[in-house]
Point group: C2
Chain length 217, copies 2
DNA sequence: CTTGACAACTTACACCATAAGGCTTAGCGT
DNA sequence: ACGCTAAGCCTTATGGTGTAAGTTGTCAAG
């Protein structure tokens, strides 16, 4: 009985929301979102599932928290410099790079609108730099939203794609249904297989940032 | 005993993959992806859960199938016309509109790379029109991928946003954490609340399609 | 009428989120 | 040194989940 006391005291380090979220992200990175359960998360922390509920409202809260952590990572990677255009680019790249580092967590991000302080701080900084440089405020917001959509969409599709290739599908053909006609299969290879995601990401970014103030279309 | 036979015969109409997928999409539209279970899906079809497995490999297969149905809807909405630039625009709008009509199914689309015949047919048609009009083939592919990323990202963020507003969050403030400082809250309102998603979608599209052949950045 | 195939049903199991309640321990005032 | 309190952790219990395995009912071809 008393032996058990000292044993626990030595082994266990204090649980906290912070620690839980980090463990959750680590678990998702390794095993994927769909494999995460409160039991496993508890186990990863050397603790019973229900103990987590002392620091976290429920599983959804954990997931939201993970998204928050990711936004913090993005913010840290995108501190703005002098040129606003370059800043926007850096912001988009930060999104892409961070999500690229946590590919299995990507599905959470676009669908859990956590307006974390981190993400808002990042946005604020970007906008201010833009306006400071003479960009119309409304346009600055619109452009930033557009770029964010693009960066998230790109990250979603490509990280997911790479995951699929790495894990289960060694070639494009394996992603096609059995009844795919040849001409469409060929298209699939060209459309999905050939290009360099990094270069292409920069392409879209360049297109959007090239010249903002000219009339559109 | 014999009464029960005729009863079943009358009542039950044949199950099929097709019917299952449609029911799944309908259920998702009404209750969201996370609420869908094989039991409920079976119930919606007047059938036991396990019967579905005669037509469908597993739940993942159902979800993939739903994405396929969505791509078919997109294809039907984006048949190409004469001007390739306009076609690309139409393709992007089709993605956005269809996903806008099935907001709760959106989370499935970017993360289930179903290369359905429908989506490939659409891509093929777009590309051919572009090349026919003198666009470099490689550039045509890259641009189409870029636009697709953008359309999916935009749809993901905004449909999700509107869902959140309609269901649980009457104002932007409700999406913020309690500890959000005032200046950041203000940014959140401007960044998230003010703009017209349609107009903004067109803005991004216009930026990307304006002039393709000039060197980038 | 028999046989077979196959669709749908039933049963069974391991796992899930989480509500309710019990135990252990740390930190305090005395 | 003592017990009090509150918080952190654990145990137990409930109803829902995906799906494997085995059973029953139905119809068509022989």
């Amino acid at each position: 009985m008393t032996t058990r006391i000292s044993e626990t005291k030595v082994r266990r380090e204090r649980l906290s929301r912070e620690r839980i979220l980090r463990a959750a992200l680590r678990y998702i990175d390794e095993h994927g979102v769909e494999k995460l359960s409160m039991h496993k998360l508890g186990a990863a922390l050397g603790v019973e599932a229900m103990s987590l509920y002392n620091h976290v409202a429920n599983k959804g809260d954990v997931l939201d928290g993970v998204v928050g952590v990711l936004w913090e990572e993005i913010e840290a990677e995108a501190e703005p410099g002098a040129d606003w255009r370059e800043n926007y680019r850096r912001f988009a790249r930060a999104i892409r790079d961070v999500l690229g580092r946590h590919p299995r967590a990507v599905p959470l991000v676009p669908f859990r609108p956590v307006m974390s302080n981190a993400s808002l701080r990042a946005v604020k900084a970007q906008i201010e730099k833009g306006v400071e440089s003479g960009v119309d405020a409304e346009e600055a917001y619109a452009l930033l939203r557009t770029i964010t959509s693009y960066a998230l969409g790109h990250a979603a599709i490509y990280t997911n794609w790479e995951l699929a290739c790495a894990s289960c599908a060694p070639s494009v053909s394996d992603l096609l249904r059995d009844d795919t006609p040849d001409d469409l299969a060929e298209i699939a290879h060209v459309f999905c297989g050939q290009s360099d995601p990094d270069a292409e990401f920069e392409l879209g970014l360049g297109l959007m940032l090239r010249r903002v103030s000219t009339p559109v279309s």
